[in-house]
Symmetry: C2
Subunit: 311 residues, 2 copies
């Protein structure tokens, strides 16, 4: 039994029982994957997959019994690596936050600003999506923590912690070094922390390629899914933004007015979600507490191990 076999099984289920795709996802050959699975089945003495001729079509009953154990094993392998990295370079490493647009845009900025000040060596990644996508990113291990107002409390494999209540409002609201008049070059850009789209979004590929062609590897202060988020963090001075030109509105991006609207909409509860059984690196607890002061390390750890937390 080894981890490559387990990975092959998990990916086969995730990718709809297509071993060719699994091979690509695991960066190996298709016969290799086929063998890994066969060998695990042999060792366990059980067929995990239903085979229609030479094609995999589903899980057998023993396969269904075995799958959750396989997933726990792989998650713990991941936890082990995280725990190691946590001690190896304290306060150094990645922190992936999944959030909805409105959270990323209006709730997170203060916490992010404070966190970046206190943890300058943590690579922040902001992944944006619908509440369901946020949940899925947590389940897939792509994000360390998720923040949304809807949906999060409904997943048994997630732990959802209440953060704060909020009501709706109606909104009616310069001197950077690059403004010195000189010609803008990739090299000058790369000297600053950049804020741009997530990998795979809105021309991010071309941005990466341009820097790579000149052997530049600029620091990415933040990556996000839409320009509105990016512009917010540029205004906060966290870095130089790169967005599609149509995203810029000379009129709108100057000042803002807000109108209270709590009498119009119901009160909402925003929740912070974590994957059950996940190992969280030390700075993750720091971020959580700076975002929602009631969620101290002790509270979060207790919740992760079982208990529910009252709204």
């Amino acid at each position: 039994m080894n981890f490559q076999q387990l990975r092959s099984v998990r990916e086969a289920v995730r990718l709809g029982f297509n071993l060719t795709e699994v091979a690509q996802a695991l960066h190996t050959s298709q016969p290799g994957v086929s063998r890994q699975i066969r060998e695990l089945e042999d060792e366990l003495g059980v067929e995990i997959f239903v085979r229609a001729g030479k094609r995999l079509t589903g899980l057998t009953p023993p396969g269904a019994a075995v799958l959750p154990i396989v997933e726990r094993l792989l998650q713990d392998a991941d936890n082990l690596r995280r725990a190691g990295a946590d001690y190896a370079q304290q306060g150094h490493g990645p922190l992936a936050i999944a959030a909805t647009h409105s959270q990323a845009r209006y709730a997170l900025p203060p916490a992010v600003r404070d966190f970046r000040a206190s943890h300058p060596d943590v690579q922040l990644q902001l992944h944006q999506g619908s509440p369901k996508q946020v949940a899925q990113m947590l389940l897939d291990g792509e994000a360390d923590l998720g923040i949304a107002t809807e949906a999060l409390a409904q997943y048994p494999d997630l732990v959802a912690l209440p953060c704060y209540r909020w009501t709706h409002a109606v909104l009616v609201p310069p001197g950077h070094a690059l403004l010195d008049g000189q010609a803008l070059t990739l090299k000058r850009l790369a000297a600053f922390p950049l804020i741009t789209y997530d990998a795979g979004y809105t021309g991010r590929t071309h941005i990466d390629e341009a820097f790579a062609r000149e052997d530049l590897s600029p620091a990415l202060a933040l990556t996000a899914m839409d320009a509105d988020v990016i512009k917010t963090y540029v205004e906060l001075g966290l870095g130089v933004g790169i967005v599609a030109s149509i995203a810029y509105d000379e009129e709108r991006d100057r000042g803002l007015r807000a109108l209270d609207a709590r009498h119009l909409f119901a009160v909402n509860m925003t929740r912070l979600a974590l994957k059950r059984g996940a190992y969280l690196r030390g700075y993750v607890y720091d971020f959580i507490e700076s975002f929602a002061p009631t969620l101290t390390r002790g509270v979060v750890q207790r919740a992760l191990e079982g208990g529910a937390v009252e709204d």
Copy 2:
């Protein structure tokens, strides 16, 4: 990262940080163990063990953080194998019960008799010990379930389920084929299910060697720690016993009388314990239910996943 590395770490902790002993326990070479540990430490980027010169003396803080994850991984690897074996040969496999003398002697026999009748292909093993030893056998994975009146409820890594209440009493209480007068030989003996001591007890080694020398591998219906238990099961007709000769008392081993003594002693609660997070094969649930009818599969599974069970 691989399981051999994890095993090396776990055994190093268990065996007091002596890699020479670890190598023997894992049936490999000492430099091999040293390498496994070193490689895992390199991959995690963390020192797991404190080294005084070239000697291991204890766990580092990251080592202590990592150890519980390592143990969960190895337990799940074990669970995976069990789950596979469970489906591969339904109702076929080992069942190791740890119990105190009094449980094995007076409470278990009816359940064991019924279970052997309904599950003839399950290899029953009865391990006897003090309540604390019973708990340790469960924690070490040497026993699937433990039964005792004391101590079991105090271990956080065990789930203890109430079975039955009992009070004390004062006790005042033949035509096998081998009695045909012909000479007894190992070969004739080996034709019957045998009942004898646990491996490592009271001459069991010599018994094994004798059979091995004649290439006999008799079925062991039961193994136990003391003659009193063995004699009980021989009386039940479960097999042919092999015990030290001094254990036989011509007078005592005929009949018995019992005197109620519930007014003399306090009522006791016997508990059945399982290791938290363990995968139990189907027939284990069957045994539990036949021993304590209130402990149905559903009740046990719910308890294993978290909840407590009221006395």
